[in-house]
């Protein structure tokens, strides 16, 4: 199988490799083969290999994907693969990108939980059927892989836009009854670089490997911001 892999930093080129085609082969298997057998100087990032850690995302044939759970058979076009680093993030080397901006934006979106209970207090009792809890549950399984961020054209056009993952995180906390940062967080995520910047193109949910819907979370934030503005709380 012919595989083209991006080599270099911001400036670089695709280098072609010949990799044996195996049954049940993932894209990460291919990259690992190249690094171990053909060119040990290839840089890439992975950890768990089972779709939990969110560190192996790359651009595969033009689309952002988690590579450890992407089978070659599903994505190879004409039996070939083109593997590039994730888009919208600065390339460090080859397939490794700098994720700092991505995670800094989680902090900027008020992504840290802050409660008012101590370890001496009893557990908060929240019913599983609670509407807010269900909203939070719908977005809580994010693994922070950056696929949605790489696939978002609003991020591409406006580099300061917080992005789908950070806003999805904010939405799960807006719906967390134990959290105390509600009004503060809404102020952080309202505005052009927050939820109001989203054009609902839905590439985030199209590509999310966990099948989450950041667009739904951002729509929820837009409603929360609208209600807060109408009530004069923003």
């Amino acid at each position: 199988m012919k595989v083209s892999i991006w080599r270099g930093g911001k400036v670089g080129r695709f280098v072609a490799y010949e990799v044996p085609r195996l049954e049940n082969q993932t894209v990460l298997d291919v990259v690992t083969y190249v690094q171990r057998k053909l060119d040990p100087s290839l840089s890439y990032r992975f950890s768990c290999r089972v779709g939990m850690c969110g560190s192996c995302a790359m651009t595969v044939n033009g689309k952002p994907r988690w590579t450890c759970r992407t089978h070659v058979s599903k994505v190879a076009v004409g039996g070939t693969l083109e593997i590039a680093p994730l888009g919208n993030l600065a390339v460090i080397k080859d397939l490794s990108v700098d994720m700092r901006v991505f995670f800094d934006k989680w902090a900027k979106a008020g992504g840290a939980f802050k409660g008012d209970k101590t370890r001496d207090d009893d557990f908060a009792l929240i019913k599983p059927a609670d509407k807010q809890r269900q909203n939070a549950n719908a977005g809580i399984e994010c693994i922070g892989c950056g696929v949605c961020y790489a696939g978002c054209d609003v991020v591409r056009w406006k580099p300061d836009y917080l992005g789908p993952a950070a806003l999805n995180r904010a939405w799960t906390l807006v719906n967390d009854a134990r959290d105390t940062q509600g009004p503060v967080r809404l102020q952080l995520i309202a505005g052009e670089n927050g939820c109001l910047g989203c054009h609902s193109q839905q590439s985030c949910q199209e590509h999310c490997p966990k099948h989450l819907s950041p667009t739904a979370s951002i729509a929820g934030l837009k409603r929360a911001v609208s209600v807060a503005a109408l009530k004069g709380r923003l």
């Binding site: 033009g62 054209d153 609902s200």
Partner: protein, 112 residues
């Protein structure tokens, strides 16, 4: 090579944006025709006759489709952002597209 943009919701975004831009370009002509219709009735008769040509009717159908796309696309976005979330967003995109084409067809059938 595929792209992260190749999915129906993104096409809907592009259609909404393009139809909005084209309609914005068309609006000044629309207003100038309105002025002609009210102020210069004789000259406007000539325009009405010109507009009976098949190619002009076809272009008008195109405008109607663009208008319908922009209207249905706008309602879809408002529903997406202000009503409860629905997981069948692609179905909504298809409904908006189908509705717009149907409206264009209806206009064309009546124009012929």
């Amino acid at each position: 090579m595929t792209s992260h943009r190749s999915h129906p919701s993104y096409w809907a975004f592009v259609l909404h944006r393009v139809s909005g831009l084209v309609l914005a370009v068309f609006l000044p002509f629309h207003f100038s025709l309105l002025v002609q219709a009210t102020e210069y009735a004789v000259g406007f008769d000539g325009f009405l006759k010109w507009s009976e040509q098949p190619m002009v009717k076809l272009a008008e159908t195109g405008l109607i489709v663009l208008l319908a796309l922009h209207l249905t696309g706008g309602v879809r976005l408002l529903a997406l952002e202000f009503l409860a979330w629905r997981d069948w967003q692609k179905t909504l995109v298809a409904v908006c597209g189908g509705l717009s084409l149907a409206i264009g067809l209806l206009f064309l059938v009546n124009a012929v």
